[in-house]
Subunit: 245 residues, 2 copies
DNA sequence: CGCAAATTTGAACGTAGTCAACAAGTGTGG
DNA sequence: CCACACTTGTTGACTACGTTCAAATTTGCG
């Protein structure tokens, strides 16, 4: 169950009918490659295009006036980018590729037509937006009220869970794919302090690292340290109207 | 243009047809009063009801295991509460009344039917969700990368703008309606430090306070200090399909 | 192999938190 | 109408978590 498109993601929430699947696939006709560190769109850009990530890892961030960066979200295959364009002329955020990626772009009007012709899909898209909203509020609470070590632990767990959502084979060991500076920009810390927190987690035998690989040695303890809730499981969208057969 | 229901809020984004307005009003048949400090629903509650705030001010928060609180969002008339119930059995957050309030509850299935019968309204609801998502990312960036004074300034500006969205008459002077502890729980600070930041803003002649009233004395300077963007203006939802007449 | 990026560590500093005491409101019951 | 309790606001002294700055080391690319 490797996720390679938006239909796969949506298909994990509801059983798609053939026409629904076709309509979702229609969003992904224009394929585009973005090189590592390539920018898909920049803050204030007025392109109203939306994107589905198909392969690779991207991130969503803002730059503040003092030059510091806040990473808002990591984007995995099946995620949508550019949703800010649904309400603002200028994008509220920048989206950049962290690895070589493949994305599919489509006009926002296409989403309007999709929702008109397949209202149930509109509902699922709203549900997906809610999942992301709750994930954001979890991070807001972490930045507002949790100490550095806890935030870093939560990020590690979250990344692992999201990789695992793409590939069940991933267990306690995985390649994080983030620099310590990026971890810092996601958790509101400096790279230096992230380094110290990783070292502490390692000293406490909660994790270990070798080369790029990260091992979660004691996941229950890590979860406790992080105060972490997995928001990608136990989804319930039974309120959606039945499929039109 | 006082907002008293969800149709008013949605009506600011698109021109509603009569059937659309009726369908939105149908969500607000069951009126319910909640006293100040009353809890509408609690974290982990499994009621799958959604609510529209009609009168008063509510807040959305989580309690962390150390007893600290993070306020996620303030809810004004026209806002929706309980959207976490669209994807999770147990609510991810608590919603409490900060003043005496009037809300309207409806089953989440009703939202599914609304989106099925009025796809364009589904699109607007998604757009509203995006506005809230971006407002959340702004706060995430503030908590992650901005100093205390800036976060407090941003909160003051944001509250004023949201009050003004309800009532155009509100200018540089308004009643904030928050304790310093609540400001702290929203901005990730302690009440003590909020007090010092307010004093500093006052000493710098950016604001002044008397009794419950707050005056924004130098709004441009305050905006600069806060690095604040108003996300409730310049909305563009022209991608929505045309109304079905 | 050579260079730039990323990681690691130490030391000094500063923003925000903690603890404590007091003042000013606010509301309630006697 | 006042007394008392409780919440909220205010200020000071001290603490601590995380930042800053700097330098050395490792890693991984081209």
């Amino acid at each position: 169950m490797t996720i390679g498109c938006f239909a796969d993601r949506v298909g994990e929430l509801i059983r798609l009918t053939a026409p629904e699947r076709a309509a979702l696939s229609a969003l992904e006709e224009r394929e585009r490659h973005v090189r590592r560190n390539g920018v898909l769109f920049r803050e204030k850009d007025t392109t109203s295009e939306l994107f589905i990530i198909r392969r690779g890892l991207m991130m969503n961030y803002v730059l503040l006036d003092d030059g510091s960066r806040q990473i808002l979200r990591f984007l995995f295959p099946g995620d949508m980018a550019g949703t800010g364009g649904l309400v603002y002329r200028g994008s509220p955020e920048t989206t950049m590729a962290m690895t070589d990626t493949v994305v599919c772009g489509f006009e926002r009007e296409a989403l309007g037509r999709l929702m008109r012709d397949h209202p149930r899909l509109g509902g699922v898209i709203l549900a997906v937006a809610q999942i992301e909203r709750v994930a954001l509020t979890d991070r807001l609470a972490a930045l507002g009220r949790r100490p550095a070590k806890s935030r870093v632990a939560a990020l590690l767990l979250d990344m692992r869970n999201r990789y695992r959502a793409l590939d069940n084979a991933i267990g306690a060991t995985f390649v994080l794919g983030l620099t310590q500076e990026e971890i810092g920009d996601a958790t509101g810390l400096t790279a230096v302090h992230v380094n110290r927190m990783l070292r502490q987690l390692e000293d406490e035998r909660l994790i270990s690292r070798d080369h790029g690989r990260l091992h979660l040695l004691n996941e229950p303890a890590l979860r406790r340290a992080a105060n972490y809730t997995d928001r990608y499981e136990n989804i319930d969208v039974s309120w959606l109207p039945a499929a039109v057969e």
